[in-house]
């Protein structure tokens, strides 16, 4: 199958992130229309450098294009995910009752040591990306976003990143952290409100830990595409890693499809 992509000139002529996001979303919508046998739905990218434009694009993507959620990055242009300017998006997505995918981002130019000026050995991605996800989750919890929007659905990459393994550490630290921003439950309970994808590069071990932390209803199949064969068939390994989990088949069906159907209201 050849995927054409948007005309190069329309990208070159875009005046800002808002127009670029619209081009990308329109192209995704076209892809779904053309190939309903392969694609069920899409998730919108948003021009988060302009929250008003992002809110409009979310409405357009969900309302006009039939998209089933939005994806944001963390950090957002260097800013924390709980910055006041982004709250309107969380309110909107809670109203739509559709998920927000969070993808971490960090570049080689973020050094791991104050004595260095860049990150060696791709550590910025190997560990830095999961770290960014964990920090974002903590910021959403401790700023009270999950308290304020109890039905909000954040889907985290890499199966909740550091959170399942460090669940008890979070619980332990949580006792000592103030202010609580009106939180009515122990902090760890909010961490369990997140959803995690299965993109742990094929680790049944990690998935089992994530499953025990989040529960069967909060894991969703995800593959880390477009990582390809240089990483050794990542997609196939992730499918096998779910199949190898020592859990009921009914829970595997939830992870592979049922949870996504429920969250995306397909």
């Amino acid at each position: 199958m050849t995927i054409a992509g948007p005309p190069v000139e329309s990208i070159a002529n875009a005046r800002n992130a808002s127009e670029l996001a619209a081009i990308a979303n329109d192209d995704m919508a076209e892809l779904i229309t053309k190939h309903p046998d392969r694609f069920l739905a899409a998730v919108a990218c948003l021009p988060m450098n302009n929250i008003d434009a992002a809110l409009r694009e979310a409405d357009r993507a969900i309302g006009d294009l039939g998209f089933k959620g939005v994806q944001i990055y963390t950090p957002i242009n260097g800013k924390p995910i709980d910055s006041p300017e982004f709250m309107a998006l969380y309110e909107k997505m809670a109203e739509y009752d559709l998920p927000i995918w969070i993808h971490p981002t960090r570049g080689r130019d973020t050094p791991d040591y104050s004595s260095e000026d860049y990150s060696r050995y791709r550590i910025f991605a190997m560990f830095g990306w999961p770290y960014e996800t964990a920090v974002a989750m903590a910021r959403l919890v401790f700023s009270g976003v999950l308290e304020k929007y109890p039905n909000i659905k954040f889907i985290t990459h890499h199966c909740g990143s550091m959170v399942p393994y460090f669940g008890q550490r979070i619980a332990s630290f949580g006792r000592t952290i103030v202010p609580r921003q009106g939180m009515t439950k122990p902090p760890i309970e909010y961490f369990k409100m997140f959803y995690g994808d299965t993109a742990l590069s094929g680790s049944t071990l990690g998935l089992t830990c994530g499953y025990a932390f989040f529960g069967a209803e909060h894991l969703l199949f995800g593959t880390d595409m477009p990582f390809g064969d240089e990483y050794g068939d990542p997609c196939g390994r992730i499918i096998s890693s779910v199949e190898s989990m020592d859990i009921p088949d009914s829970d595997k069906r939830k992870i592979f499809a049922g949870n996504a159907r429920r969250l995306l209201r397909l």
Copy 2:
């Protein structure tokens, strides 16, 4: 029991880190001599700002005071743990065949976002410390330290931090990282050479993941003292978390005592 500690004037009169480390180690040695019913051995602190002094203090602590290993921090004065100046210590500890404990460090003044000037909600410690450990482990692997000293024993805090959960991610990334510094095995095999303590704040879930990654011979009982009751009986919870693991009793005995006896040659 009252523990007196070194005379205040000897600390005030110390001219440098080297003298301070000697005071601390001497005092630890005295404590062990006075209370052989409570303490079996100690681990040296080292003046890592001066590697020659650190090497001398390691020799003195192990040779004269009978200490059973050394503890270093990561980062080391802002520098990566695999900086060339520290290699002489790793060579020495490989020759002694005694362990090096690695403890992470990071302060509130290390922000989590480029738009901020300090870390909120104690994230620098909750997730930042385990992140520092994972980065240090990666640096030791990819710089070839574990290839060069195959019998070296690094004991990592928080049960290997991010490494067990992200084992397959590391394996996956490892395929793509060059240069390999003469490494003869896939990178993930070196990560399995580390040892992990049980200080996961009482998480049987995390320990089970760490156990599956490192193996029963590479886990050592550790408690995260002096964290106290504000964290909810951390010591008791860590003991329970090991006891609750669904593993053979013989492996629990290794984790509680046998592995320490072997590594510390007690």
